[in-house]
Amino acid sequence: MSLVNYLVLAAILFSIGATTALLRRNAIIVFLGIELMLNASNLAFVTFSRVHGNLDGQVMAFFTMVVAAAEVVVGLAIIVTIFRTRRSASVDDVNLLKS
């Protein structure tokens, strides 16, 4: 089996995550889609690290995880704040600036 299979799997997961972010309205599920995209890119990083034979790719994946953790903390805090004021977690309901 060639290592390209891993990259194809990463591409499929990334596309599914992107489609989720485009289609779903629940803010939490949109967030989960973004997490899926980050994970897919991590898989590509790890695979390329193996292809090139040095560990920089794995270190990049590690940093991606850390940044994702920070992003999730802030994003979920935003979702909780919006839910408190609007009683809804749907991204369609956050339209206060509209007309």
Partner: protein, 293 residues
């Protein structure tokens, strides 16, 4: 290091042609479909909890693939950080927001669903095409780079080449934590109501009919469980407040007259001669003449 041992078992070094060993191929073809199905579960699940669980499946499978790909450190971090911390955070927020808050599938923008599927499918085609065309991979494998243990070598890279990025990322984490605290902090809009304030407010409402004493207990009759029968006050009148409020709202309270009527009916049964019953001690309501007296 069980992780490195596991990695050694799962992923022997690449073959000379850059192909993965058979065991790893089997692992990939087992986990790959599972991951894609779970990811589709995220896309199509109606309930948010199911979507979160699908993502957990994807992340654990990814951790196994990392270990198989000579990255045991990342595999462990993936489980600890992603499935352990981040997904738990997601589930906590789900509990806050409401578990049963399912997503609506009604379209607010016409044709958004098909445009979304088109864009996602197009992205997949483009990415896979690029990977298949451009990747003339001559994999080197990580055997040389992992000499002396993968975590130790990764530590050398992180704290050597990427030490500045490491510091910046630490600052970012602290900033994010402070930001989350600030954002979810709720300022008190009204003064705190303590026991003293509540007592003062009740005493201030005495003129409006507030009662400071405990409510009277309902009447006690051996005949029924008596919660539904009002007690009689010292003046012989029923005390409505003694019946629990729920029974009163439902209209299930009974007057002591009804209870007394039942008891009289039992007393008037055929087997007991009525003359021998001494009714003077029986519970009864006052007659009109007695009340006037």
């Amino acid at each position: 290091m069980s992780a490195t041992i596991l990695a050694g078992h799962l992923a022997a070094s690449l073959t000379s042609t850059g192909q993965t060993p058979t065991g790893e191929a089997v692992l990939f073809w087992v986990l790959g479909p599972v991951m894609v199905l779970a990811a589709l579960g995220l896309l199509f699940a109606r309930k948010t909890v199911h979507a979160a669980m699908s993502v957990v499946v994807v992340m654990i499978s990814l951790a196994i693939l990392y270990v198989a790909q000579d990255a045991p450190f990342l595999g462990v971090v993936q489980i600890i950080v992603y499935t352990g911390a981040i997904m738990m955070l997601f589930l906590f927020v789900l509990m806050l927001v409401g578990v049963d808050a399912s997503d609506s599938f009604t379209e607010t923008i016409a044709g958004q669903r098909w445009i979304g599927f088109l864009l996602g499918g197009g992205l997949a085609v483009v990415l896979i095409g690029v990977v298949l065309n451009a990747a003339d991979l001559a994999p080197k494998g990580l055997d040389a780079a992992n000499e002396g243990g993968n975590p130790a070598r990764i530590a050398q890279v992180i704290f050597g080449d990427y030490i500045f990025a490491m510091e910046v990322v630490g600052t970012l984490l602290v900033t994010a934590a402070v930001g989350a605290i600030v954002m979810t902090h709720r300022r008190r809009l009204t003064p705190l109501l303590g026991q003293r304030e509540r007592a003062a407010a009740r005493i201030a409402r005495i003129d409006e009919g507030e009662i400071l004493t405990p409510l009277p207990a309902p009447g006690v009759y051996a005949h029924s469980n008596a919660l539904d029968v009002a007690a009689l006050g010292p003046d012989g009148l029923p005390l409505d407040r003694s019946v629990p409020r729920v029974l009163r709202v439902r209209g299930q309270e009974r007057s002591s007259d009804e209870v007394h009527a039942d008891t009289s009916a039992v007393g008037a049964g055929p087997r007991i001669p009525t003359e021998t019953i001494d009714t003077s001690d029986a519970p009864r309501t006052l007659t009109d003449e007695e009340e006037e007296a």
